[in-house]
């Protein structure tokens, strides 16, 4: 059972990590609480469904198109609706909630309330220590690893990364040093939405594509970033795997309460916050900044 919990926990944690890190990134840099983050994940899932299943494009082409189109939508949305009100954090929060609802209703109009699915990119499974893991899950895990590694690399090893981190540290000083903070925020939004899009295309073959598919990941993602410490990428990673493992533990140890896995994860978040209100890496993150 231990090996079951380990492998399944890693898989669930990996997908959550992809969403939570993207969300943390834009919050850390531009203080944008983008509630529509998982709605972009939903749009990516619908795009891959349209391209691969409806238009019968090659899956890799469908994935590429989805990963290109969604960030473009994200940047457009940022320029038109978020940028003008960026200084008012609560207004941004409300506007992004409205945006997510708009995206949901558009999908409902276009595709109806049907539950859609996408075929796996690779079929079959591998037995690891007696646990059956589908190739699609393994592919997801590997992709998550490389995307997170690439994000880490961009942030730490490139001029853009330095600009992003500088802006996250202090917008005003970064601005005085000649950085175009507005442009940095836009690019960060693009990176953040790209991560949501990648999560969407990776999850689409594993999950159900429907207009409300953004809600559960949103709750989990918010729980993860609060647990890890708002804006802390390291915290989001840790939070994602903690909650991923917590959900898996519930299924294995309390089969009758498998439906409680989400509630159990949120309880863990509450307990951690009671003991450490800034989240697991809140202080460390402040020091990093």
């Amino acid at each position: 059972m231990v090996e079951n919990i380990l492998i399944n926990g890693l898989i669930h944690g990996g997908v959550y990590a992809l969403l939570a890190v993207g969300f943390s990134l834009i919050f850390g840099v531009a203080r944008i609480v983008n509630i529509a983050h998982t709605a972009f994940y939903m749009i990516a899932a619908y795009l891959i469904y349209t391209f691969a299943t409806r238009l019968h494009l090659h899956p890799l082409l469908a994935i590429s198109l989805s990963i290109i189109i969604v960030p473009l939508i994200g940047i457009l949305v940022y320029q038109l609706t978020i940028k003008p009100i960026q200084e008012h954090e609560v207004t941004v929060l409300i506007v992004t909630i409205a945006l997510a609802m708009v995206f949901q209703e558009v999908m409902l109009l276009l595709f109806g309330g049907h539950f859609r699915g996408n075929p796996s990119l690779v079929t079959g499974y591998l037995e690891i220590f007696g646990v059956r893991v589908s190739y699609q899950h393994l592919l997801t895990l590997v992709a998550v690893f490389f995307v997170l590694l690439a994000t880490w690399g961009i942030l730490l090893k490139t001029r853009l990364g330095i600009a992003i981190r500088a802006t996250a540290q202090d917008r005003e000083v970064a601005n005085l040093m000649g950085m175009n903070v507005s442009r940095v925020a836009m690019i960060t939004m693009g990176i953040s939405v790209t991560m949501a899009a990648i999560a969407g295309v990776l999850v689409a073959p594993l999950s159900v594509v429907e207009p409300y598919m953004w809600l559960h990941p949103l709750v989990m993602m918010l729980a993860i970033v609060v647990l890890g410490g708002l804006g802390s990428i390291k915290g989001s990673l840790a939070g994602a795997f903690i909650l991923g493992f917590a959900e898996t533990l519930v299924v294995f140890l309390i089969p009758l309460g498998a439906f409680l896995k989400g509630a159990f994860s949120l309880t863990i978040m509450l307990v951690v916050l009671l003991i450490r209100p800034e989240g697991l890496f809140g202080v460390v993150f402040e020091e990093e900044r």
Partner: protein, 424 residues
């Protein structure tokens, strides 16, 4: 010249008034409200089914009321009940008071249908249920006949009988496993979404499966909207189950079947999986849902002479298999026949005629019980078991049950990877 102009104006007004009066007086129609969640498959199938029924009757000139044929006009009543239950009662109220519907049919979620039923009964509007299975909907007719007599359930069979059929389907799989794999006491894992309607099925399963010579090895209750059940499936695999007894009405049915097929979990999957009743299931699971068996109302088998023509017509025009909600087609025919026998649209008189119904619909012979419920059993509506076999949804039950085998049914197949794992 001015007088001539006035004359023309007065003549035009009189003519217009005359035409309008004529239209109002002679263009009568029977308005039937189709109530369902129209953004979702359930509501859409109710609407399409009703359209088929109405088109057929209107092609003959309409329903004969006394000596006059009145065409049917369908009114779409979007209840939005999947997203928001209270919307349903308001939608019915609006349909009755603003759209002036004469009759109602449809409904899906039990809790919404209770509210819709109350509104319809207050206005003494006949309401033919085509979606909710709770026994109490008809229990109300028995308890307060004068108030609830306007309610009839056309489909599905009530949930007590759904349970019976469920156990018959598990029994079919267990017998195949005993016979082909030599396992005398098959182990069963119960997997049911966490919903009120699934609780009695789980309870009945736990009580009755051991009596049927099976061993229950565990019970898992994922959320109806869970998107990943690999952990549950891993646990079921570890428990050594040979049968998975499923109860799913929500979207969880898709990832479940997909992951079950992809991971080749060595246990036959049998029970209720509403998503597996749909044509899109094969595509949604990328073919991984092969061998999934689910309770159903219709398949392309000859339940009655009406089944295959309706099934083919629906599939060709809509591009989907008709679900049980599409029995609005039968409901329209039943209602039309009752109105013609009554010779009036008066609700009380039509109720009397509806109670005498014996109609060969697509899902079987529809006869209403004293509680106005659809009768279940051999010779009536039985429901059926369907299994996905290489991209086709085949009827696999009843086969030689109580002397019934619907023409076109095939033998239930144990998934080959289950055979490979357990064959002694």
């Amino acid at each position: 010249m001015e007088k001539l102009g006035k004359g023309i104006f007065i003549f035009a007004m009189v003519f217009l008034f005359g035409v309008l009066s004529f239209t109002v007086a002679f263009a009568q129609e029977i308005k039937i409200g189709i109530a369902g969640p129209m953004a979702f498959a359930q509501g859409q199938h109710q609407w399409f089914g009703a359209e088929f029924g109405a088109d057929e009757i209107n092609a003959k000139g309409g329903i004969l009321v006394g000596n006059k044929r009145l065409p049917i006009k369908l009114v779409k009543v979007d209840t939005n009940e999947i997203l928001n239950v209270p919307d349903a009662a308001s939608a019915i109220e609006r349909a009755i008071t603003r759209d002036k519907v004469d009759f109602l049919m449809g409904g899906f979620r039990t809790e919404a249908v209770f509210a819709m039923q109350d509104v319809a009964m207050d206005y003494k509007k006949i309401f033919l249920g085509c979606g909710a299975a709770h026994p109490e909907l008809c229990g109300r007719v028995a308890k307060d006949y004068n108030k609830y007599k306007y309610w009839f359930r056309v489909t599905p069979i009530n949930s007590l009988f759904l349970l019976k059929v469920d156990l018959l389907l598990v029994g079919t799989a267990a017998n195949a496993i005993r016979k082909e794999l030599g396992i005398t006491t098959p182990k069963v894992a119960i997997v049911a979404e966490k919903a009120v309607w699934a609780d009695p099925i789980v309870g009945l399963g736990k009580t009755n499966l051991p009596k049927m010579g099976m061993e229950v090895v565990g019970e898992w209750r994922p959320s109806s909207t869970a998107t990943d059940v690999t952990a549950e499936l891993s646990a079921i695999n570890a428990a050594g189950a040979q049968i998975i007894f499923t109860t799913f009405s929500g979207p969880v049915g898709i990832p479940y079947a997909k992951q079950w097929g992809e991971l080749k979990i060595p246990a036959a999957s049998v029970g209720i999986n509403v998503e597996a009743q749909k044509k899109g299931f094969w595509e949604a699971t990328g073919g991984m849902g092969n061998y999934e068996m689910t309770q159903n109302t219709l398949a392309r088998v000859e339940i009655t002479p009406a089944t295959i023509p309706f099934y083919d017509k629906f599939t060709a025009k809509i591009g989907e298999f008709p679900t049980y909600n599409a029995a609005t087609n039968d409901a329209i025919q039943i209602l039309a026949a009752a109105i013609e026998r009554a010779g009036t649209l008066d609700s009380d008189k039509v109720v009397t005629e509806l109670e005498k119904t014996s109609f060969l619909g697509a899902a079987g012979r529809i006869v209403f019980t004293k509680e106005h419920d659809v009768t279940w059993g051999p010779g009536y509506v039985t429901a059926m078991g369907t299994q996905w076999q290489d991209g086709k949804l085949m009827g696999v039950w009843p086969v030689d049950w109580e002397g019934i085998t619907y023409k076109g049914s095939v033998k239930y197949k144990i998934p080959p990877w289950v055979v490979e794992k357990w064959k002694k």
